[in-house]
């Protein structure tokens, strides 16, 4: 195990941080940057609780070495809205009751957001495929799917929706 310094942009902020060659990106995000919205569920890429967006792609941060994120642009759940101004996907999750225990929610919202960016008018099958890497053990998924449909409608009727916080 070696120590080394890496740099990246996370939620719009440049960071330079010391890490080790056996640290996962997930650990760096939670333990070093204290961004605890990103969760660890299975640690094996199956549950999606650790989902973040890295270089424009939806990824499982438990399957990435911290060193691999050197030079990357990363968005976690903390980077897509704040207390005053939630992201339309977050609002839709609240309104439809798509949140119960909340553990899967950050990953689920990032997966939904990424899918809607690529496909603004998904049908139900496409929604299911878009969140197929995220497990929820509370809601039975229907409300999550409803939330994504609602967010899709709002975003398209707002002609692209509310402008995002820079990230």
């Amino acid at each position: 195990m070696s120590k080394l310094t890496i740099g990246f942009i996370i939620n719009g902020q440049k960071k330079t941080i010391e890490t080790t060659t056996s640290t996962r990106l997930l650990d760096l995000i939670r333990d070093d940057l204290h961004l605890t919205g990103t969760k660890e569920g299975c640690g094996k890429g199956e549950c999606g609780a650790c989902t973040v967006i890295m270089n424009g792609e939806l990824v499982a941060s438990c399957l990435i070495l911290a060193t691999q994120s050197d030079g990357a642009v990363i968005t976690t759940i903390e980077g897509i809205g704040d207390n005053e101004c939630l992201d339309p996907v977050q609002e839709a999750f609240i309104e439809t009751g798509a949140v119960q225990c909340g553990f899967c929610t950050p990953g689920m919202i990032l997966a939904a957001k990424k899918m809607l960016e690529e496909n603004p008018h998904p049908d139900e099958e496409e929604i299911k495929r878009g969140i197929s890497g995220n497990l929820c053990r509370c809601t039975g998924y229907q409300k999550i799917i409803d939330a994504i449909k609602l967010a899709a409608n709002r975003l398209s009727s707002k002609n692209g929706g509310r402008s995002e916080k820079d990230d």
Binding site: L4, T5, G7, G43, G45, E57, L63, I64, T67, G133
Partner: protein
């Protein structure tokens, strides 16, 4: 794009150069992310078994989940751009080892020429896994259940292996020698996957049976590719490749003999299904029993033949 903060990517010394030249305050060891294949091969020859090659990491980090500390040195291929390309060269498709499943799934060329490979990539894991996982990683990991392996065999894929001494090209069939075992040497890197461009009247079918649609490790996989003669009726050649039914992905060669030269209309699908059932050697495991796999192998072979038959009839030549 915004300028990156200072990091490894900007440090030339970190891309595999002489570590003595390192100007950084932290040790320049443990993690290498070179930008060229030659640099990667140089690092490999220096470290051999003492370094772990990482591509997408979607298998490796699961395998080393609670013992990442055991790995002292990493060779990350992420910065080698030429390994991320899909391109046609004369009558061959060249796929870089770092091409992700998402890239494979969305490539129009792959969809057109190798639909079975395209569908296999689309069925892997989840968006998160497909965005990171690579074709090269899937091959080198050599799981008997590796989703891309049967399709690659069915399309007569060859693999280019390079060391800083020499390079060699081996057929997929000779590459896999056991569960998670390949002929790849510690100083070698799988760099490219080479597929012959298929002839015009080539049909394919992909069937994966798993416990669920997403994130399923296959219980059984079938990749069937049939080349038809000019008349679109006579079978010219066939590849029947299966996964999760033997220590390595396998081709059932007996099917070739049975089908070649025959009129597709006169084939006995049940008999061909039986051949597949008889020639596989599955085991009992958590995903399914030997008996189940044998039964299902026969049925999916029949289904695949039916699907190819209807695709063939739909095409008017």
């Amino acid at each position: 794009m915004e300028e990156f903060p200072q990091g490894l990517q900007n440090s030339k010394d970190f891309s595999g150069g002489d570590s003595k030249k390192c100007q950084r305050t932290v040790p320049c060891q443990g993690y290498f992310a070179p930008q060229r294949i030659e640099e990667a091969l140089e690092i490999l020859s220096r470290y051999g078994k003492e370094i772990k090659i990482i591509a997408g990491g979607t298998d490796l980090l699961v395998q080393y989940y609670d013992r990442l500390y055991e790995i002292n040195n990493w060779l990350d291929l992420k910065n080698i751009k030429e390994l991320k390309e899909v391109k046609i060269n004369k009558n061959q498709m060249i796929i870089g080892a770092m091409v992700t499943h998402t890239q494979l799934e969305s490539s129009e060329d792959i969809k057109t020429y190798y639909p079975v490979l395209s569908q296999a990539a689309a069925d892997i894991g989840s968006p998160q896994i497909r965005n990171r996982g690579t074709i090269g990683g899937n091959i080198v990991n050599a799981s008997p259940a590796g989703d891309l392996l049967s399709p690659l065999m069915a399309y007569d894929a060859q693999f280019k292996l390079q060391s800083n001494q020499r390079e060699m090209i081996v057929p997929a069939e000779e590459f896999f020698i056991g569960p998670k075992k390949t002929i790849l040497q510690p100083n070698q890197l799988l760099t490219r996957i080479i597929l012959p461009l298929p002839e015009e009247k080539t049909y394919g079918c992909w069937i994966k049976i798993g416990k669920r649609k997403a994130l399923a490790i296959a219980t059984i996989i079938l990749a069937l590719v049939v080349k038809m003669a000019e008349d679109n009726k006579t079978v010219k050649d066939v590849r029947t490749c299966l996964g999760s039914v033997a220590p390595t992905p396998i081709e059932i060669k007996e099917v070739r003999k049975k089908m070649a030269g025959k009129n597709f209309n006169q084939l006995d699908f049940a008999e061909l299904g039986q051949i597949v059932e008889d020639k596989i050697s599955p085991i009992d495991d958590i995903r399914g029993t030997r008996e189940y796999r044998k039964d299902v192998a026969k049925e999916i072979m029949i289904n695949a033949l039916e699907e190819i038959d209807s695709a063939r009839r739909e095409r008017n030549y």
